[in-house]
Protein backbone atom coordinates (compact mmCIF):
# COMPACT_ATOMS: atom_id res chain seq x y z
CA UNK A 1 0.00 0.00 0.00
CA UNK A 2 1.28 3.39 -0.95
CA UNK A 3 1.42 6.32 1.37
CA UNK A 4 -1.96 7.76 2.16
CA UNK A 5 -3.80 4.58 1.27
CA UNK A 6 -6.79 3.62 3.33
CA UNK A 7 -6.12 0.70 5.63
CA UNK A 8 -6.93 -2.52 3.84
CA UNK A 9 -9.46 -5.02 4.98
CA UNK A 10 -7.58 -7.37 7.19
CA UNK A 11 -6.59 -10.47 5.39
CA UNK A 12 -7.49 -13.75 7.05
CA UNK A 13 -3.84 -14.68 7.25
CA UNK A 14 -1.99 -13.62 10.33
CA UNK A 15 -5.10 -13.71 12.49
CA UNK A 16 -5.24 -15.10 15.90
CA UNK A 17 -6.67 -18.54 16.43
CA UNK A 18 -10.34 -19.17 15.71
CA UNK A 19 -12.64 -19.43 18.63
CA UNK A 20 -15.35 -22.06 19.08
CA UNK A 21 -17.09 -20.63 22.10
CA UNK A 22 -20.88 -21.28 22.22
CA UNK A 23 -21.62 -17.75 21.07
CA UNK A 24 -19.32 -18.00 18.10
CA UNK A 25 -20.55 -21.49 17.24
CA UNK A 26 -24.10 -20.19 17.15
CA UNK A 27 -23.00 -17.38 14.85
CA UNK A 28 -21.22 -19.87 12.62
CA UNK A 29 -24.40 -21.90 12.31
CA UNK A 30 -26.30 -18.76 11.38
CA UNK A 31 -23.71 -17.75 8.84
CA UNK A 32 -23.62 -21.22 7.30
CA UNK A 33 -27.39 -21.11 6.88
CA UNK A 34 -27.21 -17.62 5.42
CA UNK A 35 -24.45 -18.57 3.01
CA UNK A 36 -26.45 -21.62 1.93
CA UNK A 37 -29.38 -19.37 1.06
CA UNK A 38 -27.05 -17.07 -0.82
CA UNK A 39 -25.46 -19.86 -2.83
CA UNK A 40 -28.58 -21.92 -3.49
CA UNK A 41 -29.83 -19.99 -6.55
CA UNK A 42 -26.47 -20.56 -8.19
CA UNK A 43 -26.62 -24.29 -7.55
CA UNK A 44 -30.14 -24.26 -8.92
CA UNK A 45 -28.94 -22.45 -12.02
CA UNK A 46 -26.12 -24.87 -12.71
CA UNK A 47 -28.45 -27.80 -12.15
CA UNK A 48 -31.08 -26.28 -14.47
CA UNK A 49 -28.48 -25.82 -17.15
CA UNK A 50 -27.98 -29.57 -17.25
CA UNK A 51 -31.62 -30.60 -17.29
CA UNK A 52 -34.06 -31.14 -20.12
CA UNK A 53 -36.47 -28.32 -20.91
CA UNK A 54 -39.43 -30.04 -19.25
CA UNK A 55 -37.52 -31.66 -16.40
CA UNK A 56 -36.68 -28.16 -15.24
CA UNK A 57 -40.23 -27.61 -14.11
CA UNK A 58 -41.05 -30.90 -12.49
CA UNK A 59 -37.92 -31.87 -10.59
CA UNK A 60 -38.75 -29.85 -7.47
CA UNK A 61 -35.97 -29.71 -4.92
CA UNK A 62 -33.93 -32.30 -6.76
CA UNK A 63 -30.77 -30.62 -7.97
CA UNK A 64 -29.22 -33.61 -9.73
CA UNK A 65 -30.47 -34.00 -13.31
CA UNK A 66 -31.83 -37.35 -14.50
CA UNK A 67 -30.00 -37.08 -17.80
CA UNK A 68 -27.09 -34.76 -18.13
CA UNK A 69 -27.96 -32.51 -21.03
CA UNK A 70 -24.58 -31.13 -22.01
CA UNK A 71 -26.07 -30.09 -25.33
CA UNK A 72 -27.61 -27.09 -23.57
CA UNK A 73 -24.15 -25.64 -23.37
CA UNK A 74 -23.20 -26.10 -26.97
CA UNK A 75 -26.57 -24.61 -27.94
CA UNK A 76 -26.01 -21.58 -25.76
CA UNK A 77 -22.46 -21.03 -26.86
CA UNK A 78 -22.88 -21.56 -30.60
CA UNK A 79 -26.49 -21.07 -31.65
CA UNK A 80 -27.38 -18.22 -29.37
CA UNK A 81 -24.09 -16.45 -29.96
CA UNK A 82 -23.07 -16.24 -26.36
CA UNK A 83 -19.41 -16.21 -27.25
CA UNK A 84 -20.14 -12.99 -29.08
CA UNK A 85 -22.12 -11.45 -26.22
CA UNK A 86 -19.26 -12.25 -23.89
CA UNK A 87 -16.82 -10.37 -26.10
CA UNK A 88 -19.22 -7.43 -26.35
CA UNK A 89 -19.62 -7.34 -22.58
CA UNK A 90 -15.89 -7.41 -22.02
CA UNK A 91 -15.24 -4.65 -24.56
CA UNK A 92 -17.94 -2.27 -23.34
CA UNK A 93 -17.13 -2.88 -19.69
CA UNK A 94 -13.38 -2.44 -20.09
CA UNK A 95 -13.78 0.67 -22.24
CA UNK A 96 -16.30 2.15 -19.82
CA UNK A 97 -14.02 1.61 -16.83
CA UNK A 98 -11.11 3.16 -18.70
CA UNK A 99 -13.01 6.25 -19.84
CA UNK A 100 -14.53 6.83 -16.43
CA UNK A 101 -11.17 6.56 -14.67
CA UNK A 102 -9.40 8.89 -17.08
CA UNK A 103 -12.00 11.61 -17.25
CA UNK A 104 -12.93 11.51 -13.56
CA UNK A 105 -9.30 11.50 -12.40
CA UNK A 106 -8.45 14.47 -14.63
CA UNK A 107 -11.45 16.41 -13.43
CA UNK A 108 -11.05 15.46 -9.80
CA UNK A 109 -7.40 16.46 -9.90
CA UNK A 110 -7.89 20.03 -11.09
CA UNK A 111 -10.93 20.52 -8.88
CA UNK A 112 -8.97 19.41 -5.83
CA UNK A 113 -5.73 21.26 -6.33
CA UNK A 114 -6.34 24.41 -8.31
CA UNK A 115 -8.61 27.38 -8.23
CA UNK A 116 -9.61 28.70 -11.61
CA UNK A 117 -12.29 30.77 -13.23
CA UNK A 118 -15.47 28.74 -13.41
CA UNK A 119 -14.60 26.26 -10.68
CA UNK A 120 -17.65 27.11 -8.59
CA UNK A 121 -19.81 26.78 -11.66
CA UNK A 122 -18.43 23.31 -12.49
CA UNK A 123 -18.90 22.09 -8.91
CA UNK A 124 -22.39 23.56 -8.84
CA UNK A 125 -23.38 21.73 -12.00
CA UNK A 126 -22.16 18.43 -10.58
CA UNK A 127 -23.98 18.87 -7.30
CA UNK A 128 -27.24 19.79 -9.02
CA UNK A 129 -27.13 16.80 -11.36
CA UNK A 130 -25.78 14.10 -9.06
CA UNK A 131 -29.13 12.47 -8.28
CA UNK A 132 -30.57 12.39 -11.79
CA UNK A 133 -31.96 8.89 -12.38
CA UNK A 134 -31.10 6.93 -15.51
CA UNK A 135 -34.67 6.79 -16.78
CA UNK A 136 -34.66 10.57 -16.84
CA UNK A 137 -32.12 10.89 -19.63
CA UNK A 138 -32.43 7.67 -21.59
CA UNK A 139 -34.77 9.02 -24.26
CA UNK A 140 -32.57 12.03 -24.94
CA UNK A 141 -29.39 9.95 -24.85
CA UNK A 142 -30.87 7.71 -27.51
CA UNK A 143 -31.83 10.66 -29.69
CA UNK A 144 -28.34 12.07 -29.27
CA UNK A 145 -26.71 8.76 -30.14
CA UNK A 146 -28.92 8.44 -33.17
CA UNK A 147 -27.88 11.85 -34.42
CA UNK A 148 -24.22 11.03 -33.82
CA UNK A 149 -24.71 7.71 -35.68
CA UNK A 150 -23.68 5.81 -32.57
CA UNK A 151 -26.90 3.97 -32.00
CA UNK A 152 -25.97 0.50 -33.18
CA UNK A 153 -22.38 0.34 -32.09
CA UNK A 154 -20.37 -0.78 -29.10
CA UNK A 155 -18.90 2.72 -28.96
CA UNK A 156 -22.39 4.11 -28.56
CA UNK A 157 -23.12 1.76 -25.66
CA UNK A 158 -19.78 2.54 -24.06
CA UNK A 159 -20.28 6.30 -24.29
CA UNK A 160 -23.80 6.07 -22.95
CA UNK A 161 -22.44 4.14 -19.98
CA UNK A 162 -19.37 6.25 -19.35
CA UNK A 163 -19.85 9.77 -20.66
CA UNK A 164 -22.62 11.01 -18.40
CA UNK A 165 -23.03 10.68 -14.66
CA UNK A 166 -20.26 9.24 -12.48
CA UNK A 167 -20.19 12.40 -10.37
CA UNK A 168 -19.49 10.21 -7.35
CA UNK A 169 -16.26 9.04 -8.96
CA UNK A 170 -15.20 12.63 -9.61
CA UNK A 171 -15.90 13.56 -6.01
CA UNK A 172 -13.93 10.54 -4.78
CA UNK A 173 -10.92 11.69 -6.76
CA UNK A 174 -11.39 15.29 -5.67
CA UNK A 175 -11.48 14.28 -2.03
CA UNK A 176 -8.41 12.12 -2.36
CA UNK A 177 -6.25 14.51 -4.36
CA UNK A 178 -7.07 17.34 -1.98
CA UNK A 179 -5.41 15.44 0.86
CA UNK A 180 -2.13 14.79 -0.89
CA UNK A 181 0.55 17.04 0.69
CA UNK A 182 1.78 19.93 -1.46
CA UNK A 183 5.49 19.30 -0.79
CA UNK A 184 5.43 16.32 -3.13
CA UNK A 185 4.59 18.30 -6.20
CA UNK A 186 6.66 21.31 -5.22
CA UNK A 187 9.73 19.12 -5.33
CA UNK A 188 8.70 17.96 -8.78
CA UNK A 189 8.14 21.52 -9.99
CA UNK A 190 11.66 22.37 -8.89
CA UNK A 191 12.86 19.39 -10.90
CA UNK A 192 11.20 20.99 -13.91
CA UNK A 193 8.28 18.57 -14.23
CA UNK A 194 5.32 19.98 -16.18
CA UNK A 195 1.67 20.03 -15.26
CA UNK A 196 0.80 16.81 -17.01
CA UNK A 197 4.00 15.12 -15.92
CA UNK A 198 3.22 15.80 -12.27
CA UNK A 199 -0.24 14.38 -12.67
CA UNK A 200 0.91 11.31 -14.53
CA UNK A 201 3.97 10.32 -12.60
CA UNK A 202 3.19 11.57 -9.09
CA UNK A 203 -0.50 12.14 -8.51
CA UNK A 204 -2.07 9.29 -10.44
CA UNK A 205 0.10 6.56 -8.86
CA UNK A 206 -0.67 7.98 -5.42
CA UNK A 207 -4.37 7.74 -6.16
CA UNK A 208 -4.17 3.97 -6.64
CA UNK A 209 -6.72 3.13 -3.94
CA UNK A 210 -9.29 5.55 -5.37
CA UNK A 211 -8.68 4.24 -8.85
CA UNK A 212 -9.32 0.75 -7.52
CA UNK A 213 -12.56 1.90 -5.96
CA UNK A 214 -13.75 3.69 -9.07
CA UNK A 215 -12.71 0.76 -11.25
CA UNK A 216 -14.61 -1.78 -9.19
CA UNK A 217 -17.77 0.28 -8.83
CA UNK A 218 -17.78 1.18 -12.52
CA UNK A 219 -17.09 -2.42 -13.45
CA UNK A 220 -20.06 -3.63 -11.44
CA UNK A 221 -22.30 -0.99 -12.97
CA UNK A 222 -21.20 -1.60 -16.55
CA UNK A 223 -21.18 -5.38 -16.32
CA UNK A 224 -24.69 -5.36 -14.88
CA UNK A 225 -25.98 -2.61 -17.16
CA UNK A 226 -29.23 -3.56 -18.79
CA UNK A 227 -31.31 -0.55 -19.81
CA UNK A 228 -28.72 1.06 -22.08
CA UNK A 229 -27.53 -2.07 -23.91
CA UNK A 230 -31.15 -3.16 -24.25
CA UNK A 231 -32.36 -0.09 -26.08
CA UNK A 232 -29.09 0.42 -27.97
CA UNK A 233 -29.10 -3.02 -29.56
CA UNK A 234 -32.73 -3.34 -30.59
CA UNK A 235 -31.83 -3.32 -34.27
CA UNK A 236 -28.44 -5.04 -33.98
CA UNK A 237 -28.86 -8.09 -31.75
CA UNK A 238 -25.30 -9.18 -32.50
CA UNK A 239 -24.10 -6.23 -30.39
CA UNK A 240 -25.90 -7.40 -27.29
CA UNK A 241 -24.08 -7.81 -24.05
CA UNK A 242 -24.50 -10.84 -21.79
CA UNK A 243 -27.10 -9.14 -19.64
CA UNK A 244 -29.33 -8.44 -22.61
CA UNK A 245 -28.34 -11.57 -24.51
CA UNK A 246 -30.58 -13.61 -22.22
CA UNK A 247 -33.44 -12.31 -24.34
CA UNK A 248 -32.16 -14.27 -27.31
CA UNK A 249 -33.64 -17.39 -25.77
CA UNK A 250 -37.13 -16.02 -26.03
CA UNK A 251 -38.55 -16.71 -29.44
CA UNK A 252 -41.94 -15.70 -30.78
CA UNK A 253 -43.69 -18.69 -29.24
CA UNK A 254 -41.19 -20.44 -27.02
CA UNK A 255 -38.43 -19.87 -24.53
CA UNK A 256 -35.42 -22.14 -24.31
CA UNK A 257 -35.17 -22.23 -20.51
CA UNK A 258 -32.40 -24.77 -20.17
CA UNK A 259 -30.35 -23.09 -22.90
CA UNK A 260 -30.84 -19.86 -21.04
CA UNK A 261 -29.66 -21.43 -17.82
CA UNK A 262 -26.59 -22.79 -19.59
CA UNK A 263 -25.86 -19.37 -21.06
CA UNK A 264 -26.31 -17.77 -17.66
CA UNK A 265 -23.89 -20.23 -16.12
CA UNK A 266 -21.37 -19.58 -18.86
CA UNK A 267 -21.62 -15.85 -18.39
CA UNK A 268 -21.16 -16.18 -14.64
CA UNK A 269 -18.01 -18.28 -14.76
CA UNK A 270 -15.54 -15.58 -15.87
CA UNK A 271 -16.84 -12.89 -13.59
CA UNK A 272 -17.01 -15.16 -10.57
CA UNK A 273 -13.50 -16.41 -11.28
CA UNK A 274 -12.30 -12.87 -11.72
CA UNK A 275 -13.89 -11.99 -8.44
CA UNK A 276 -12.34 -14.96 -6.63
CA UNK A 277 -8.85 -14.02 -7.81
CA UNK A 278 -9.20 -10.32 -7.24
CA UNK A 279 -11.38 -10.62 -4.16
CA UNK A 280 -9.16 -8.53 -1.98
CA UNK A 281 -9.03 -5.68 -4.48
CA UNK A 282 -12.76 -5.86 -5.02
CA UNK A 283 -13.51 -5.60 -1.34
CA UNK A 284 -10.93 -2.91 -0.72
CA UNK A 285 -12.16 -1.02 -3.73
CA UNK A 286 -15.70 -0.99 -2.45
CA UNK A 287 -14.56 -0.23 1.07
CA UNK A 288 -12.71 2.76 -0.36
CA UNK A 289 -16.00 4.42 -1.21
CA UNK A 290 -16.84 4.64 2.48
CA UNK A 291 -13.42 5.59 3.76
CA UNK A 292 -12.67 8.32 1.26
Amino acid sequence: MKQGAAPSIRSPRGRRRWSWSPGIALQVVLLVALSAIWIYPFLWLVSASLKGSLELFVSGLDLVPKHWEWSNYSRAWNDAGFSRYMVNSIITTAATVLIVIVRCALTGYVLARYSFIGKRFVLGVFLVTIFVPEGYTIIAVMELSRQLHLLNSLLGITLALSAGGHVAAILLYTGYFARIPRELEEAAVLDGAGFFEIFRSIMMPLAGPVTATVAVLTFLGAWNAFFVPLVFTFSKPELRTLAVGMLAFQGEHSTDWSGMAAAATLSLIPVVLLFMFLQRYFMEGIAGAVKA
Binding site: P7, G164, A243, A289, V290
Partner: protein
Protein backbone atom coordinates in the same frame (compact mmCIF):
# COMPACT_ATOMS: atom_id res chain seq x y z
CA UNK B 1 5.72 18.93 -22.10
CA UNK B 2 5.47 22.50 -23.31
CA UNK B 3 4.51 24.05 -20.02
CA UNK B 4 6.94 26.40 -18.41
CA UNK B 5 7.26 26.04 -14.66
CA UNK B 6 5.84 29.46 -13.81
CA UNK B 7 2.73 29.13 -15.93
CA UNK B 8 0.16 26.95 -14.25
CA UNK B 9 1.32 24.35 -11.85
CA UNK B 10 1.07 26.67 -8.90
CA UNK B 11 -0.69 25.17 -5.94
CA UNK B 12 -3.81 26.59 -4.47
CA UNK B 13 -2.46 28.86 -1.74
CA UNK B 14 -0.11 30.86 -3.93
CA UNK B 15 -2.69 31.34 -6.63
CA UNK B 16 -5.15 33.60 -4.87
CA UNK B 17 -2.83 36.56 -4.46
CA UNK B 18 -1.29 36.38 -7.88
CA UNK B 19 -4.53 35.60 -9.70
CA UNK B 20 -6.12 38.85 -8.62
CA UNK B 21 -3.42 40.88 -10.29
CA UNK B 22 -3.66 39.11 -13.63
CA UNK B 23 -6.18 39.97 -16.32
CA UNK B 24 -8.94 37.46 -16.92
CA UNK B 25 -7.68 36.44 -20.34
CA UNK B 26 -4.14 36.08 -19.14
CA UNK B 27 -5.37 33.96 -16.30
CA UNK B 28 -7.41 31.76 -18.57
CA UNK B 29 -4.36 31.31 -20.77
CA UNK B 30 -2.16 30.57 -17.81
CA UNK B 31 -4.63 27.96 -16.67
CA UNK B 32 -4.93 26.30 -20.07
CA UNK B 33 -3.72 22.99 -18.66
CA UNK B 34 -6.50 23.03 -16.13
CA UNK B 35 -9.10 23.53 -18.82
CA UNK B 36 -7.49 20.85 -20.94
CA UNK B 37 -7.86 18.46 -18.02
CA UNK B 38 -11.51 19.44 -17.68
CA UNK B 39 -12.16 19.07 -21.37
CA UNK B 40 -13.04 15.34 -21.59
CA UNK B 41 -15.58 15.57 -18.81
CA UNK B 42 -16.85 18.93 -20.01
CA UNK B 43 -17.59 17.58 -23.47
CA UNK B 44 -18.90 14.16 -22.49
CA UNK B 45 -20.85 15.27 -19.46
CA UNK B 46 -22.44 18.13 -21.38
CA UNK B 47 -23.50 15.79 -24.17
CA UNK B 48 -24.66 12.85 -22.10
CA UNK B 49 -26.01 14.43 -18.93
CA UNK B 50 -26.62 18.14 -19.21
CA UNK B 51 -28.01 18.22 -22.72
CA UNK B 52 -30.34 15.26 -22.06
CA UNK B 53 -31.64 16.94 -18.94
CA UNK B 54 -32.29 20.13 -20.83
CA UNK B 55 -33.80 18.51 -23.86
CA UNK B 56 -36.03 16.29 -21.71
CA UNK B 57 -37.72 19.48 -20.64
CA UNK B 58 -38.37 20.27 -24.26
CA UNK B 59 -39.55 16.73 -25.09
CA UNK B 60 -41.91 16.86 -22.17
CA UNK B 61 -43.77 19.66 -23.87
CA UNK B 62 -44.36 17.62 -27.01
CA UNK B 63 -46.90 15.15 -28.26
CA UNK B 64 -44.45 12.78 -29.94
CA UNK B 65 -44.89 9.14 -30.87
CA UNK B 66 -41.31 8.51 -31.97
CA UNK B 67 -42.35 7.66 -35.50
CA UNK B 68 -42.72 11.26 -36.60
CA UNK B 69 -39.44 13.06 -37.04
CA UNK B 70 -40.65 15.84 -34.77
CA UNK B 71 -43.29 16.11 -32.12
CA UNK B 72 -46.07 18.68 -31.86
CA UNK B 73 -45.76 21.32 -29.18
CA UNK B 74 -48.61 20.98 -26.69
CA UNK B 75 -47.45 23.10 -23.76
CA UNK B 76 -47.89 21.69 -20.29
CA UNK B 77 -50.59 19.17 -21.25
CA UNK B 78 -48.30 16.21 -20.54
CA UNK B 79 -47.61 17.50 -17.05
CA UNK B 80 -51.28 17.98 -16.32
CA UNK B 81 -51.85 14.40 -17.44
CA UNK B 82 -48.91 13.01 -15.46
CA UNK B 83 -50.05 14.66 -12.26
CA UNK B 84 -53.51 13.15 -12.72
CA UNK B 85 -52.28 9.73 -13.82
CA UNK B 86 -52.88 7.25 -11.00
CA UNK B 87 -50.32 4.88 -12.53
CA UNK B 88 -47.63 7.54 -12.24
CA UNK B 89 -48.37 8.04 -8.57
CA UNK B 90 -48.48 4.29 -8.01
CA UNK B 91 -45.08 4.00 -9.66
CA UNK B 92 -43.79 6.86 -7.52
CA UNK B 93 -45.15 5.21 -4.41
CA UNK B 94 -43.71 1.81 -5.31
CA UNK B 95 -40.30 3.34 -5.95
CA UNK B 96 -40.24 5.02 -2.56
CA UNK B 97 -41.86 2.21 -0.59
CA UNK B 98 -39.22 -0.02 -2.06
CA UNK B 99 -36.44 2.28 -0.95
CA UNK B 100 -37.89 3.13 2.45
CA UNK B 101 -38.24 -0.52 3.42
CA UNK B 102 -35.27 -2.13 1.75
CA UNK B 103 -32.67 0.48 2.73
CA UNK B 104 -33.12 0.13 6.52
CA UNK B 105 -33.47 -3.65 6.24
CA UNK B 106 -30.29 -3.85 4.24
CA UNK B 107 -28.42 -1.52 6.57
CA UNK B 108 -29.39 -3.38 9.72
CA UNK B 109 -28.96 -6.94 8.45
CA UNK B 110 -25.63 -6.24 6.83
CA UNK B 111 -24.37 -4.48 9.94
CA UNK B 112 -25.20 -7.51 12.09
CA UNK B 113 -23.41 -9.85 9.71
CA UNK B 114 -20.49 -7.46 9.34
CA UNK B 115 -20.04 -7.30 13.12
CA UNK B 116 -19.98 -11.09 13.25
CA UNK B 117 -17.48 -11.31 10.42
CA UNK B 118 -15.31 -8.59 11.91
CA UNK B 119 -14.60 -10.73 14.94
CA UNK B 120 -11.01 -11.90 14.43
CA UNK B 121 -11.90 -15.20 16.10
CA UNK B 122 -14.72 -16.01 13.67
CA UNK B 123 -13.89 -19.22 11.79
CA UNK B 124 -14.20 -19.21 7.97
CA UNK B 125 -14.97 -15.49 7.91
CA UNK B 126 -13.51 -14.93 4.46
CA UNK B 127 -15.41 -17.90 3.11
CA UNK B 128 -18.69 -16.46 4.36
CA UNK B 129 -17.77 -13.08 3.02
CA UNK B 130 -17.18 -14.53 -0.41
CA UNK B 131 -20.43 -16.45 -0.43
CA UNK B 132 -22.42 -13.40 0.56
CA UNK B 133 -20.70 -11.30 -2.08
CA UNK B 134 -21.16 -13.53 -5.12
CA UNK B 135 -24.65 -12.22 -6.05
CA UNK B 136 -23.17 -8.73 -6.35
CA UNK B 137 -21.08 -9.69 -9.33
CA UNK B 138 -23.93 -11.58 -10.97
CA UNK B 139 -25.85 -9.97 -13.81
CA UNK B 140 -29.21 -8.77 -12.57
CA UNK B 141 -31.03 -10.09 -15.61
CA UNK B 142 -29.90 -13.62 -14.79
CA UNK B 143 -30.94 -13.25 -11.18
CA UNK B 144 -34.36 -12.00 -12.23
CA UNK B 145 -34.99 -15.06 -14.36
CA UNK B 146 -33.64 -17.56 -11.84
CA UNK B 147 -35.70 -16.02 -9.06
CA UNK B 148 -38.89 -16.47 -11.07
CA UNK B 149 -38.27 -20.19 -10.80
CA UNK B 150 -37.09 -20.10 -7.22
CA UNK B 151 -40.30 -18.39 -6.09
CA UNK B 152 -42.65 -20.34 -8.36
CA UNK B 153 -45.81 -21.45 -6.56
CA UNK B 154 -46.01 -24.77 -8.42
CA UNK B 155 -42.79 -26.63 -7.81
CA UNK B 156 -40.48 -23.75 -6.95
CA UNK B 157 -37.90 -24.62 -4.27
CA UNK B 158 -38.97 -21.93 -1.79
CA UNK B 159 -42.55 -23.15 -1.70
CA UNK B 160 -41.54 -26.81 -1.67
CA UNK B 161 -39.22 -26.12 1.24
CA UNK B 162 -41.84 -24.21 3.21
CA UNK B 163 -44.44 -26.90 2.51
CA UNK B 164 -42.08 -29.70 3.48
CA UNK B 165 -41.40 -28.21 6.86
CA UNK B 166 -45.04 -27.39 7.40
CA UNK B 167 -44.47 -23.65 7.58
CA UNK B 168 -47.33 -23.09 5.13
CA UNK B 169 -50.12 -25.39 4.01
CA UNK B 170 -50.72 -23.95 0.55
CA UNK B 171 -48.13 -22.59 -1.87
CA UNK B 172 -47.67 -18.82 -1.80
CA UNK B 173 -47.78 -17.11 -5.16
CA UNK B 174 -44.91 -14.80 -4.26
CA UNK B 175 -44.53 -12.99 -7.56
CA UNK B 176 -48.03 -13.58 -8.90
CA UNK B 177 -49.96 -12.00 -6.08
CA UNK B 178 -50.08 -8.23 -6.07
CA UNK B 179 -49.89 -8.14 -2.29
CA UNK B 180 -46.60 -10.05 -2.11
CA UNK B 181 -44.85 -9.30 -5.42
CA UNK B 182 -43.22 -6.02 -4.42
CA UNK B 183 -41.92 -7.49 -1.15
CA UNK B 184 -40.59 -10.55 -2.93
CA UNK B 185 -38.58 -8.36 -5.27
CA UNK B 186 -37.34 -6.45 -2.20
CA UNK B 187 -36.09 -9.68 -0.68
CA UNK B 188 -34.25 -10.51 -3.87
CA UNK B 189 -32.86 -7.00 -4.08
CA UNK B 190 -31.53 -7.20 -0.54
CA UNK B 191 -30.10 -10.63 -1.30
CA UNK B 192 -28.38 -9.36 -4.43
CA UNK B 193 -26.78 -6.21 -2.99
CA UNK B 194 -26.21 -7.50 0.54
CA UNK B 195 -22.49 -8.00 -0.13
CA UNK B 196 -21.80 -4.38 -1.03
CA UNK B 197 -23.35 -2.85 2.06
CA UNK B 198 -21.70 -5.53 4.18
CA UNK B 199 -18.30 -4.56 2.80
CA UNK B 200 -19.03 -0.90 3.51
CA UNK B 201 -19.73 -1.78 7.13
CA UNK B 202 -16.67 -4.00 7.37
CA UNK B 203 -14.54 -1.15 6.10
CA UNK B 204 -16.06 1.17 8.66
CA UNK B 205 -15.69 -1.37 11.47
CA UNK B 206 -12.02 -1.80 10.75
CA UNK B 207 -11.36 1.85 11.45
CA UNK B 208 -12.23 1.07 15.05
CA UNK B 209 -9.10 0.10 16.88
CA UNK B 210 -9.22 -3.31 18.53
CA UNK B 211 -7.89 -1.65 21.69
CA UNK B 212 -11.34 -0.32 22.45
CA UNK B 213 -12.73 -3.82 22.42
CA UNK B 214 -9.87 -5.17 24.50
CA UNK B 215 -10.46 -2.49 27.07
CA UNK B 216 -14.18 -3.19 27.14
CA UNK B 217 -13.55 -6.87 27.62
CA UNK B 218 -11.25 -6.17 30.52
CA UNK B 219 -14.06 -4.10 32.03
CA UNK B 220 -16.34 -7.14 31.65
CA UNK B 221 -18.78 -5.59 29.17
CA UNK B 222 -20.94 -8.07 27.26
CA UNK B 223 -21.29 -8.16 23.47
CA UNK B 224 -24.50 -6.14 23.38
CA UNK B 225 -23.07 -3.39 25.50
CA UNK B 226 -19.86 -3.30 23.47
CA UNK B 227 -21.96 -2.96 20.35
CA UNK B 228 -24.16 -0.23 21.82
CA UNK B 229 -21.53 1.79 23.62
CA UNK B 230 -18.51 1.42 21.37
CA UNK B 231 -19.41 0.19 17.90
CA UNK B 232 -22.54 2.24 17.24
CA UNK B 233 -21.17 5.65 18.27
CA UNK B 234 -17.98 5.13 16.31
CA UNK B 235 -19.88 4.00 13.21
CA UNK B 236 -22.20 6.98 13.17
CA UNK B 237 -20.21 9.14 10.75
CA UNK B 238 -20.04 6.23 8.32
CA UNK B 239 -23.70 5.38 8.63
CA UNK B 240 -24.80 8.46 6.68
CA UNK B 241 -22.49 7.76 3.73
CA UNK B 242 -23.41 4.09 3.67
CA UNK B 243 -27.08 4.99 3.86
CA UNK B 244 -26.83 7.37 0.92
CA UNK B 245 -24.86 4.89 -1.21
CA UNK B 246 -27.39 2.17 -0.43
CA UNK B 247 -30.30 4.48 -1.21
CA UNK B 248 -28.86 5.35 -4.63
CA UNK B 249 -28.55 1.60 -5.35
CA UNK B 250 -32.16 1.13 -4.45
CA UNK B 251 -33.41 3.61 -7.01
CA UNK B 252 -31.81 1.50 -9.75
CA UNK B 253 -34.14 -1.46 -9.79
CA UNK B 254 -35.31 -1.33 -13.39
CA UNK B 255 -33.60 -4.49 -14.61
CA UNK B 256 -34.56 -6.59 -11.61
CA UNK B 257 -38.20 -5.52 -11.88
CA UNK B 258 -38.37 -5.97 -15.62
CA UNK B 259 -36.99 -9.49 -15.53
CA UNK B 260 -38.81 -10.64 -12.39
CA UNK B 261 -42.26 -9.13 -12.72
CA UNK B 262 -42.31 -6.71 -15.65
CA UNK B 263 -44.21 -4.37 -13.33
CA UNK B 264 -47.09 -6.77 -12.74
CA UNK B 265 -49.30 -8.29 -11.59
CA UNK B 266 -51.66 -5.45 -12.33
CA UNK B 267 -49.02 -2.70 -12.00
CA UNK B 268 -48.30 -3.71 -8.40
CA UNK B 269 -44.54 -3.63 -8.93
CA UNK B 270 -44.42 -0.88 -11.49
CA UNK B 271 -41.62 1.45 -10.39
CA UNK B 272 -40.88 4.73 -12.11
CA UNK B 273 -38.33 3.37 -14.59
CA UNK B 274 -40.78 0.68 -15.67
CA UNK B 275 -43.48 3.31 -16.09
CA UNK B 276 -41.18 5.34 -18.35
CA UNK B 277 -40.14 2.23 -20.25
CA UNK B 278 -43.76 1.22 -20.76
CA UNK B 279 -44.78 4.62 -22.10
CA UNK B 280 -41.67 5.30 -24.16
CA UNK B 281 -40.59 1.91 -25.44
CA UNK B 282 -43.07 -0.85 -24.80
CA UNK B 283 -46.34 0.92 -25.68
CA UNK B 284 -48.07 0.05 -28.94
CA UNK B 285 -47.77 3.72 -29.77
CA UNK B 286 -44.86 5.19 -27.82
CA UNK B 287 -45.38 8.52 -26.09
CA UNK B 288 -41.94 10.00 -25.73
CA UNK B 289 -43.23 13.38 -24.63
CA UNK B 290 -45.40 11.93 -21.93
CA UNK B 291 -42.64 9.62 -20.71
CA UNK B 292 -40.28 12.60 -20.57
CA UNK B 293 -42.79 14.59 -18.56
CA UNK B 294 -43.05 11.69 -16.12
CA UNK B 295 -39.26 11.47 -15.91
CA UNK B 296 -38.89 15.21 -15.31
CA UNK B 297 -41.63 15.21 -12.68
CA UNK B 298 -40.05 12.28 -10.90
CA UNK B 299 -36.59 13.82 -11.09
CA UNK B 300 -37.90 17.09 -9.63
CA UNK B 301 -39.69 15.29 -6.82
CA UNK B 302 -36.57 13.29 -6.02
CA UNK B 303 -34.46 16.43 -5.88
CA UNK B 304 -37.02 18.13 -3.65
CA UNK B 305 -37.02 15.15 -1.32
CA UNK B 306 -33.21 15.03 -1.30
CA UNK B 307 -32.97 18.73 -0.51
CA UNK B 308 -35.54 18.48 2.26
CA UNK B 309 -33.61 15.55 3.74
CA UNK B 310 -30.39 17.48 3.54
CA UNK B 311 -31.88 20.54 5.22
CA UNK B 312 -33.46 18.38 7.90
CA UNK B 313 -30.16 16.64 8.59
CA UNK B 314 -28.36 19.98 8.79
CA UNK B 315 -31.03 21.38 11.07
CA UNK B 316 -30.79 18.35 13.33
CA UNK B 317 -27.04 18.67 13.46
CA UNK B 318 -27.19 22.34 14.34
CA UNK B 319 -29.83 21.68 16.98
CA UNK B 320 -27.61 19.06 18.55
CA UNK B 321 -24.60 21.32 18.49
CA UNK B 322 -26.37 24.22 20.16
CA UNK B 323 -27.96 22.13 22.88
Amino acid sequence: MATTPESTSVPLAARGRRGARQGVLARLWADRWIYLFLLPTAVLYSLYTIWPIGVSWWYSLLDWNGFDQHGTYIGLANYREVLQDPFFWHAFEHTFVFALISVPVRLVLTLIVAVMLNNPRMPWASLFRTALFVPVVTTTAIIGIVMQFVFDPAGGPVNLFLLKFGLIDRPINFLGDSSTALYTVMVVHVWKWFGVTMIYWLAALQTISTEYYEAARVDGANAVRVFRDITVPLLKPFAIIIGVLTFIDTLKIFDLMLTMTGGGPYFSTEVIDIFIYREAFAATIPRLGYASAAAVTFGMLTIVIAVVQLLAARYAQRARRTS
